[in-house]
C-alpha cells in the first residue's frame, strides 16, 4: 500500500489553515500546519515532508523567504506557492516548483499538489 504523503501547510490565517488541513486530510494526505515562516521552517527541518503548500503574504518572513530557506535545507522537497497575492515577485516564482492562486478551487489545489509530488518522485526515482 502506498504510504500517505505528508504535506506542510503554511498560512497565517488560522481558520483558513484549519479548513485547508481538513480538505487535504479528506484527500488522503497527512498534514502539518504552521502559522508563520519561522515555525514552518522548524517543522520542515524536523519532519519528513513530501510537499510544502506555502502562503506568500505573511507577517515576519514572507513565503518567498521561507521557500528559499527550505530549498537550501532540503532542495528535493517540492513547494507549491499558494497565494492570494496577485503580483508574486519573479524570483519567488522561480524558486518554487509551482504557483497557484487562491480561489482556483479545492479540486485544482489537490490536482496541482498531486502533480508536484508525482513529478518530484519521478525525478527522485530517475536519480536513483
Amino acid at each position: 500500500m502506498m504510504r500517505s504523503h505528508t504535506i506542510l501547510c503554511v498560512d497565517d490565517e488560522a481558520l483558513g489553515l484549519q479548513i485547508r488541513k481538513a480538505l487535504l486530510e479528506m484527500a488522503g494526505y497527512q498534514v502539518l500546519t504552521a502559522l508563520d515562516g519561522k515555525s514552518a521552517l522548524a517543522l520542515f527541518e524536523e519532519n519528513p515532508v513530501d510537499a510544502v503548500l506555502l502562503d506568500y503574504l505573511m507577517p515576519g518572513m514572507n513565503g518567498g523567504q521561507v521557500a528559499l530557506a527550505m530549498r537550501r535545507a532540503k532542495p528535493e522537497v517540492p513547494i507549491l506557492m499558494h497565494s492570494a497575492c496577485v503580483d508574486l515577485p519573479k524570483e519567488t516564482a522561480e524558486v518554487v516548483d509551482s504557483t497557484l492562486s487562491k480561489g482556483e478551487g479545492p479540486e485544482m489545489l489537490i490536482h496541482r499538489l498531486q502533480g508536484i509530488i508525482e513529478a518530484s518522485q519521478l525525478s527522485m526515482g530517475s536519480r536513483q
Binding site: E13, R20, A22, L23, M58
Partner: protein, 595 residues
C-alpha cells in the same frame, strides 16, 4: 519764492517809495527854506534903503525949514524942523538895529550920524544967532555941513544897494539851485523807484514763473504716474475694480470687464452690487457686499470661500478675491479696491486631484483588499468541497459554521471597502475608535507584510461629527505614511485623547500617530502639506497630506506634524485635532491652507 519772501517784497514795495518821497520832500524843504532866507535878506536890504531914504528926506526937511527961517526970520517956518527931530532919532535907531550885522554899514551910519550932529549943532547955532540969515558965510558953512551929511548918506545908500544886488544875485542862484535840485531829485527818486520796482517785480514774476514751471512739472509727473498706474492696473493679470465710498464703480481693468461682462464706460458710477454680482457657490445666496464689509472692518479682507461671480451674461465664475480700503490722509474711507481671480479651472483641477488621490488610496489598498477577500473565499470554496464529500452530520455542522465565519469576514471587508466611498450628505456622529479599527482592518495585511506592528490605545469613547469616508481616507493616508516611513519591523503607536474647549478651539479629540521611522527630513518640513510634494519618490503622488489637511480643515480641525521626542518612537509625530462639532457641509470641501 515762499509766502514770507513775497510778503517781504510787498512791504518793500510799500515802504521804499514812501521813504524815498519823504527824503525828497526833506531835500526840497531845505531848498525852499534857503530861498526864503535869501528873500528875507533882500527884503531887509529894501527896508534899510527905504529907512535911509526917509531919513534923508527928514534931514532935508529940517534943512529946508532952517533955510526958510534964515530967509524970513519967521519962527513958524521952523515947525517942520522941530517936527522932524523926533522921527530922525527914531530912524537912526531903527537903521542901527537893521544894520547891526554889517560892520561896514555901521561905520557908514556912525559917519552919517556924526555929520548930522555937526550940522545940527550948526543949525542950533543959527537958531540962537539973531539975523543969521544975512550972514552969508554962515549959510555957506551950513551948506557944506549938509553936503557932507548927504555925501555920507549917499555912501550908505550905495553900500546898501551893492549889498542888495549881491543878495539878489544870491537869491537867483538859490532859485536856480532849487530848480536843479527839484528836477534832479525827482529824476533820481523816479529812476531809483523804477529800478527798485522793476527788480522786485522781476523777483516776483520769476518766482511766479518758477511756481508755474513747478506746477507744470508736478502736473506732468502726476499725469505720468497716473498713466503708469493705469497701465499697470490695466495690464495686471488679475481683475481689478475700484469703487468709491458709496459703492459706485470708478475703475475696472480689462480682466474685470471680461469677468463681469460690463465694459468700463457702462459700469462707471453704477452700484457695485449691480456690476459685481456675487453669490455663494452652493447656497446660491447673495454674498455680502465687500464695500460694506471693508467699511465695517476697515482692513484688507478676503472674500468667503466658494464665492461665485455671476457675469452680465449669466456665466458663473468661482472667484478668489480680496478687498482693501483706500483711505485719505485723515483715515476716512474714500474708496475700495477689489482684486479677484477666476479660479473655476483651479477648483476643477483641485477636485480632480482630490478624486485622483481617493483613487490612489483605493489603488494602494486594492492588492491588500483582494488578498483579504480571496482568503475567506478560498476557505469557503474548500468548505463547500468538504461539505459535498462529508456525510458526518457533526462535521458538516462544523464546516457550515466555519463557512459562516468566513463569509462574515468577507462581508465585513466589503462593507469597510464600501464605507471608504459611501458618504452621508450631512455630518454624522463618528466613533473614531470604530473608524480607526476599520481602517486598521483594511490595512492589516499591508502592515503585516511589512512586518509593522501597530499598537493602539483607544480606551474611552471618542465621538466627533464629520464625514466618515473622508476621515477614513485621512487616517488610511496617515497610517500608510507611518508604515512606509518605518519600513520592515517598524513600530506604530496610535493613541487618542479628548481635549476640552479652549480659547482657540472647541472641545474635540486628538488622534496621535507616532512611528519608529527616521522622522521628517529638515528640508521637507515646510512643504509637507503642499500638493505634489512627496518624500517617497515614484511611489507617492504627493497629494496624500494635502488632501488630508483639506479634509481635516474642512472639519474645523488641524494636522500638526513634527518629529517625536519619544526614544522608542523617534520618527514622525502626527497630531490630528478634530472638533466635537463641525460646521462642515458635504459640499464645503476646502483645499489645505498651506503655510
Amino acid at each position: 519764492m515762499n509766502l514770507r519772501e513775497f510778503q517781504r517784497v510787498l512791504k518793500q514795495a510799500f515802504f521804499v517809495p514812501l521813504l524815498a518821497l519823504v527824503a525828497l520832500a526833506g531835500v526840497l524843504l531845505w531848498q525852499v527854506r534857503d530861498a526864503q532866507q535869501a528873500q528875507r535878506w533882500l527884503d531887509h536890504s529894501d527896508r534899510v534903503s527905504t529907512r535911509v531914504a526917509e531919513l534923508e528926506r527928514l534931514i532935508i526937511d529940517q534943512e529946508t525949514a532952517l533955510r526958510g527961517f534964515e530967509l524970513t526970520g519967521d519962527q513958524t517956518m521952523l515947525a517942520p524942523f522941530k517936527a522932524a527931530s523926533g522921527p530922525i532919532d527914531a530912524h537912526f535907531d531903527s537903521i542901527r538895529r537893521h544894520v547891526s550885522d554889517n560892520p561896514e554899514q555901521i561905520s557908514n551910519l556912525v559917519r552919517v550920524h556924526d555929520r548930522y550932529l555937526l550940522w545940527l549943532g550948526f543949525a542950533n547955532n543959527v537958531l540962537s544967532t539973531p539975523n543969521a540969515a544975512a550972514n552969508a558965510p554962515l549959510n555957506h558953512r551950513g551948506k557944506e555941513l549938509m553936503d557932507a551929511v548927504r555925501d555920507a548918506m549917499r555912501t550908505m545908500s550905495d553900500t546898501e544897494d551893492k549889498i542888495r544886488s549881491s543878495r539878489l544875485e544870491n537869491t537867483l542862484i538859490l532859485e536856480r539851485r532849487e530848480l536843479m535840485v527839484i528836477i534832479a531829485g525827482a529824476l533820481l527818486v523816479g529812476i531809483a523807484l523804477s529800478i527798485f520796482s522793476l527788480t522786485r517785480l522781476r523777483q516776483v514774476s520769476s518766482a511766479y514763473q518758477r511756481s508755474l514751471d513747478e506746477l507744470q512739472k508736478r502736473s506732468n509727473e502726476l499725469y505720468e504716474s497716473r498713466e503708469w498706474l493705469h497701465t499697470t492696473l490695466r495690464s495686471i493679470g488679475d481683475a481689478v475694480m475700484v469703487c468709491d465710498a458709496n459703492s459706485n464703480v470708478q475703475f475696472m481693468n480689462p480682466v474685470s470687464e471680461e469677468l463681469t461682462g460690463w465694459p468700463l464706460d457702462e459700469a462707471v458710477n453704477k452700484p457695485l452690487r449691480q456690476v459685481f454680482h456675487i453669490i455663494h457657490e452652493h447656497t446660491r445666496k447673495e454674498a455680502e457686499n465687500p464695500v460694506e464689509k471693508v467699511r465695517r472692518l476697515n482692513k484688507v479682507i478676503g472674500l468667503a470661500n466658494h464665492t461665485a461671480l455671476i457675469s452680465r451674461n449669466g456665466t458663473e465664475y468661482v472667484i478668489d478675491d480680496s478687498a482693501a480700503p483706500i483711505n485719505d490722509k485723515s483715515g476716512n474711507l474714500i474708496g475700495i479696491v477689489l482684486v479677484f481671480r477666476d479660479i473655476t479651472d483651479q477648483k476643477r483641477a483641485e477636485a480632480a486631484l482630490i478624486a485622483s488621490e481617493k483613487l490612489a488610496v483605493a489603488g494602494r489598498l486594492a492588492a491588500s483588499i483582494a488578498h483579504e477577500i480571496h482568503n475567506p473565499l478560498d476557505s469557503v470554496a474548500n468548505l463547500h468541497y468538504l461539505l459535498a464529500n462529508e456525510s458526518n452530520a457533526e462535521k458538516r455542522a462544523e464546516y457550515l459554521s466555519m463557512a459562516q465565519q468566513e463569509l462574515k469576514r468577507t462581508l465585513q471587508i466589503s462593507r469597510t471597502l464600501l464605507n471608504l466611498y459611501r458618504e452621508p450628505n450631512a455630518p454624522v456622529k463618528v466613533d473614531l475608535k470604530e473608524l480607526l479599527e476599520s481602517v486598521l482592518l483594511l490595512l492589516h495585511r499591508r502592515l503585516d507584510t511589512q512586518s509593522v506592528t501597530v499598537q493602539h490605545n483607544f480606551d474611552g469613547s471618542f465621538v466627533v461629527e464629520g464625514f466618515p469616508a473622508e476621515l477614513r481616507q485621512v487616517f488610511t493616508n496617515l497610517i500608510t505614511n507611518a508604515a512606509d516611513a518605518t519600513g520592515i519591523n517598524g513600530k506604530i503607536l496610535i493613541r487618542m485623547h479628548g481635549v476640552p474647549a479652549e480659547e482657540l478651539h472647541g472641545s474635540g479629540v486628538i488622534v496621535e500617530i507616532l512611528d519608529s521611522g527616521p522622522g521628517i527630513p529638515h528640508h521637507a518640513e515646510q512643504k509637507l502639506f503642499q500638493p505634489f510634494f512627496t518624500t517617497k519618490g515614484e511611489k507617492g503622488t504627493g497629494l496624500g497630506l494635502w488632501v488630508s489637511m483639506g479634509i481635516v480643515q474642512k472639519h474645523g480641525g488641524t494636522i500638526r506634524l513634527k518629529n517625536s521626542e519619544d526614544p522608542d518612537l523617534h520618527g514622525a509625530w502626527v497630531r490630528v485635532y478634530l472638533p466635537a462639532h463641525t460646521l462642515a457641509t458635504s459640499s464645503s470641501r476646502s483645499t489645505a491652507h498651506v503655510g
